[in-house]
């Protein structure tokens, strides 16, 4: 170290601030290199938002539970499967797949999807477009994720929920046969 920089140049002290630069560290945390100017106190800015969000969530759930009573069918009867027998809505996409092939639909494809999802951040590591929705530089990634994961998930669930009737037959929602009880 030939030249000693004066300490005050690196660590200027501003008497109006409660914080200051204390040390330079090497690291990959985004806090490094970032000026403190666009930071705000978590109290009250974060806290008030969190409280409001909780109130909103709670009210929506309360309203739903007062006005929309959850379903309860007849008592379980191992001899009479309802027709069609449907899983909860979030598994209807899976059930739709299962109706094509039990192993691949129920275990093979879902297993691959989970492994694939976990692999994403190890395959796509380029530091571009972080912190922005649908960044232009990530069009390929965004398209792949949407076409391979998001759309199939939603479409399969809608298919299974609204387009499948007795004997898991395909019916449009407006032409759904009513099951004779």
């Amino acid at each position: 170290m030939a030249k000693r920089v004066r300490e005050e140049e690196i660590f200027p002290r501003n008497p109006n601030k409660t914080y200051g630069l204390m040390e330079l560290v090497k690291g990959s945390s985004p806090r490094v290199d970032r000026g403190p100017e666009d930071m705000v106190s978590a109290w009250p800015h974060l806290l008030i938002r969190e409280a409001l969000l909780f109130a909103a969530t709670f009210l929506v759930i309360l309203a739903l539970s007062v006005w929309c009573v959850p379903p309860l069918e007849k008592q379980a009867d191992a001899t009479k499967p309802p027709n069609p027998a449907k899983a909860p809505w979030y598994f209807l996409g899976l059930q739709e797949l299962v109706s094509y092939d039990a192993f691949w639909g129920g275990l093979g494809i879902p297993g691959l999807v989970i492994v694939g999802l976990m692999a994403i951040p190890y395959l796509d590591r380029h530091h571009s477009g972080i912190g922005r929705w649908f960044a232009r530089s990530r069009t390929t990634a965004v398209t792949l994720f949407t076409v391979l994961f998001v759309i199939p998930t939603i479409v399969l669930i809608i298919l299974g929920t609204y387009f499948r009737g007795p004997n898991w037959g395909f019916y449009p929602p407006w032409g759904m046969p009513v099951e004779p009880q």
Binding site: K26, S28, P30, V32, D33, A78, T79, K80, P81, P82, N83, P84, A85, Q95, V98, S99, Y100, D101, A102, G106, H127, P166, N167, W168, G169
Partner: protein, 158 residues
Amino acid sequence: MSINYEREKQELTRRNFVSLSGWSIFTLGLLGAGGLFARFFWPNVRYGPPSKFSIGKPGNYPDGAQQTFIDQKVSVIRHGSNIGAISLVCKHLGCTVAPSATGYDCPCHGSKYDAIGQVTHGPAQANLDWFGISLLPSGDLQVDKSDIRTVSAYYGVK
């Protein structure tokens, strides 16, 4: 700003090797213990109706008859002098199939079977099971659901 990912090279020194082996043994031990607890979940005793049940005298079944024993999930059929017991558990994912004009239909995902349980329409990929039948000394027929047979495993009666 740039982020620097340095990959440090790890050397396998003797000391590292000993510590690595130590941890491997530790992990193996834990896995073994985990295996024991996993075995704990595998039932040794099944609760449920007994697998053998009586279906009455052969004479109760005229030629061409089909009768459903819904509690046992078994359908008994007679063709000529042959009696067969067909499982009503769908080979797709285990719903209970219902007798229909063409044989048996599954309400869950639409599998169809013909009158002797051969699959005619997917997603099921196998035929319905048949069960072994035997004659009891009392003259009654007995179906044994633990004795799994394939299609057309009839029992001949006079």
